[in-house]
Symmetry: D2
Subunit: 370 residues, 4 copies
């Protein structure tokens, strides 16, 4: 397996290249009986669509999704759901030149090292467009989670030096701003930083965060399949992510136990925690608190400044990258983080159903026969 | 699956609880023909053994490993290698009391939430002793990697406020110091911080780092099975780790593309990089540079200060934890990080053998018949 | 996972329903560097195409395959290969009636029992058309095997009472006859039996066989992943197959050890066997002999005789099935058996590359760097 | 993976060789809350224990199982259950001689071909003793199934020419007779055949059958993970099995559709089938009828007649096998078939819990919080 499949029960397999005929995903293991239409998926794809603001690539793609299987009379049947998006704006010409050398910060060299050659058009399989399949599948997972009372929400936390002010957190702003920041003031500041960076033919990095609300305690497994371990894999598998933090993340290395432990308390007859330094996970299993995951994203490697590199003949050379590139990756990666989180959490919940014997007995005792 | 299995080809399954009869691991998929003895494994287990310094729990365990299968006349046969360590120092009495309440920062509550009850003796399955199986298996993986010219080395980077000085990096110190720091000066400072913390009935967090040298370019897969994604999962699956960084990690969110890209250069006819901000991975695939992974570890949750919590009857209560606990987790977790990294890298290398058609043809053309 | 994925390294995921928009397969883990075109796949799909003879359903489908990803400039890139076939001849009207009752011998009832409802059009996911994805993927696997010197060949062994005469085995006849029998005389006899059965509004069962030549010794694993165990699963997963035999198969239960053991002999310096009762597999691992697998296929359950059944309201009723159905399943299932065998054998060969340490060392010592 | 792991959710990993220190199994994914003791497992192991009759090897092994983890205060905890049986009667001397040549009908040659050498003592990993782990794990699966109202029962159907008479089916006889036949008369006849075979230094084959009662409709998946496909793999993975049949099995190839279809009928308000030619599975999914699986087992390859073979130097030679061997494999394989069936059915039931959305919602709505 070349690793294009994610998940154990709710299993998704993505395919497609930036400049191929199409991209898509097959969802296998989606429970039967979910109301599903293209519109449910399209609204998520539109959030990662390019060309929607001054700080995003001018490449225009409608990225219209088509459901090819697995849905009958508006309901999922339990059969694989095949989703496809046709590529419409391939300007391969932009890329023919890069066939010959290795772009710094890109996977050009490592693909050649692994496979002996590569589809160099727009990054081929390592293009950001690969995430179309992840987002399409994540939209389905998120819809199921919503019906289980669980919401997943990702947003931009910082771009370059500009960080959001949690005191001004405004969830609406996430979809309303070009930066996907939940803070209109920070958004404005970030946009001007980005325009400055563009003027300098450079790019910026940033940080995104995802929170999961409503997740019951007890989800995840204690050893290798810890919920935080699977979230770390899911998020780190998004191109350009270089660090993943859970709860207090990196800062725990500077804390004392007395500062970092979350005291358990009672609230309206429920066990709760006075604080949530743990980010909602203890020992790899959800504790009923809000999940909090943070990811740090490198600046767009495609910059227009002249850079040093090497060509396929092993000669040193300078490169001037052409094509259409965002000056920052984060805003369009936010929905990908949200979707990878949804896929991870849903899969863990489905696996969790066989954790205890009594509920299994109850399940089969209640099983309707047709 | 309750998630006690790790790896696709070199597959390890750990078992055992802190105060059960024994702990162990089954390695399935180890190539035949490796010279292997208990001594190869014991030297790794000794690195995580408790009771070896003033800053480690006084619990005494020899943790002597026994090879039960898979090795014949000193060589691995290709059959599963079953490794077992008997528990010898179970003082369950220490723990009978904690059966009734939930220790802050521990998995007591989440285990009850998931399974309905738990083996409360010393954390049961969520005890640090679970890592015995990981380390035993990792020792075998590391031995194979060494024969492939690859070295894996983890060490403590910081404890509380004390960070190592890379200018004084001394690899020998890693095994010689109680902190597993590659810097004798930092070690001394860290030890006194820890003794201070102990005096205050508190604990400290820290940071550990792992580097992999000699890894060829081309290892890892481009999408969900990115090498960095699998490393993130492997390391985040170590109890108490709350953040994982690759290369520049979190700092990339503050950099510009022009600062973060690594220029490709030629050196003695080989493609190399002028810098290694990427930490040896581009697009999820190794680039021939040194792998650099960092993990942030929370302070030991078992502190001797009085803490607030809740008991199984849903009553708020204060707890005073007894038992034997390290004031810091990092020094003994370092070898676990090294082993999880070795397991991840080896598995990726074995999977990589089928990436290209021509080497597969060559493999079978060369296949010896008996 | 709803079980639409097959294989560990060469991993295929099929999707699509009989009367949906399209059917297809995603191949993940295909080695890079294979020359591949639609024509390579189409010739296999044409072998399962309906409407090509008097004994096959009159449903007309071109079943034209489209490569959507994973191939660049005529070569596989190592990225997932997405293959799609559009449905063109949906006459759902034929099926609207069967929505209400359960056809004997079909999966109508079990789908409702599992999922609560079903896509009833032409059997939906349980239609024979699901095998389009298997055949498309198997064509790719077979092309790789051929380059490794391995041939896979399936054919019809019997239809109803008519069995082929091995003395008249003629490989060309497999593709030339409507029955896929390697024996023109038996084919004629079988066709008249089938026409008789059609006249009686009934259907016939049959037996198919697959042989694999050129497979080296040492392929397969000793315990749960025995080569014969995976072949049994692969073949039994073809709808309508009710029995799988390896080598002498069922007859071994009537033999003595002295009759059933295959003596090892030397021939031109190679170890060989005097006989091949084992069918080329000993202890789950290939022994260098010809693999021989047999499968017994039930008669087409869709017959035009009046049958007794039950409807969704739990009322007993008689049914008269309409639509377009073959009087026998075997001839079109032969290519499916060939493809499932190719997928199983190739996957086992790729997994086998990490069985021994020395070849792994040699592999990485020889690894080209770009 | 060398294929020593079986199952997706209820996952078992076996280890150990015939003449190593011990054999065992790790069960990962066993639901928490099952009452479990060594006695539950021992009664199954005793059924496969050697040396209990005139027709079984005189090798004496107590095969006493030890639970090393995963059970606390008599209940499974959800953690891996490690089970071990120490080898006590190793007479390796018997086998030192066979190191040099390849026994006909055994895996000696194929192990050497795959791994380059082998643990030749008593067949090493390919010994029948490997099934100890399967039986120990199967005993746990069977206990869970029993609590779900499902019984699994295997027995000997024939040995050599002697077949049981279904009219005299007596379930008690299965455990009471040396042949595991449910028919005392057939048992006597079979025993004398076996004594005859022993006198002739030869061995016999046979057939075993397994039935599963109480399984609800809807278990299994429609494509590659068909219930019958997984049963075929599970049973074919038992050494010496050469054919697997479901329901009418091989005979379907000679039937007409009108003879083979099972009519659906109503009985006490339940959907049922007038006949059960399908063996309880339609389209890969259970139909509520009795599962019926048959397996054909080759005669013991270790016979005492002189046989022709080849030695490691590639010289032809005659061999006279020594050691302790049953004249027939079936009676001791019956419990293995029963256990592999239990493991397969339980795993399918656990996977099935996420097939529909509504029961998932109900499950989480009802989820107890601690």
């Amino acid at each position: 397996m070349a690793g294009s499949t994610f998940g154990t029960i709710f299993q998704v397999t993505t395919w497609g290249e930036s400049h191929g005929k199409a991209l898509g995903v097959v969802i296998d293991g989606c429970p039967a009986g979910l109301t599903l239409s293209e519109a449910d998926i399209q609204q998520y794809l539109d959030r990662r669509k390019p060309g929607t603001s001054s700080i995003s690539t001018p490449r225009r793609e409608d990225d219209t999704v088509e459901i090819l299987s697995g849905v009958f009379e508006g309901l999922t049947t339990g059969a694989p759901i095949s989703l496809m998006v046709r590529n419409t704006s391939q300007r391969s010409a932009d890329y023919s030149e890069i066939a010959g050398y290795y772009r710094p910060g890109h996977a050009d060299y490592t693909f050649d090292a692994k496979y002996g050659f590569r589809d160099y058009r727009g990054g081929g399989r390592s293009s950001g467009r690969e995430t179309i399949g992840r987002v399409a599948a994540g939209a389905v997972a998120a819809k199921i989670l919503k019906q289980l009372g669980i919401s997943v929400c990702a947003y931009t936390r910082s771009i370059g030096p500009v960080e959001i002010d949690m005191a001004h957190f405004d969830r609406e702003a996430i979809l309303a701003t070009p930066t996907a920041m939940p803070d209109y003031t920070a958004d404005k500041a970030a946009v001007s930083c980005l325009e400055e960076a563009k003027k300098n033919l450079d790019s910026l990095g940033g940080c995104m965060e995802c929170i999961v609300e409503g997740l019951p305690a007890g989800i995840g497994d204690p050893v290798f399949e810890k919920l935080d371990a699977n979230l770390a894999k899911a998020i780190m598998s998004i191109g350009a992510v270089k660090a993943v933090e859970i709860g207090e993340g990196c800062t725990v290395s500077l804390r004392k136990g007395s500062q970092n432990n979350d005291a358990f308390r009672m609230a309206d007859g429920q066990i709760t925690k006075a604080t949530n330094h743990a980010g909602g996970i203890l020992g790899g299993i959800s504790d009923g608190g809000i999940l909090r995951i943070r990811a740090h994203v490198k600046p767009t490697p495609s910059i227009f400044l002249t850079q040093q590199t090497v060509n396929k003949n092993g000669e040193e050379t300078d490169v001037n990258i052409k094509g259409r590139h965002d000056p920052v990756i984060v805003p369009r990666a936010v929905v990908v983080m949200e979707c990878m989180t949804a896929l991870t959490v849903l899969d863990a919940m489905l696996l969790n159903m066989s954790a205890r014997l009594d509920p299994i007995k109850a399940f089969y005792a209640a099983a309707e026969t047709v």
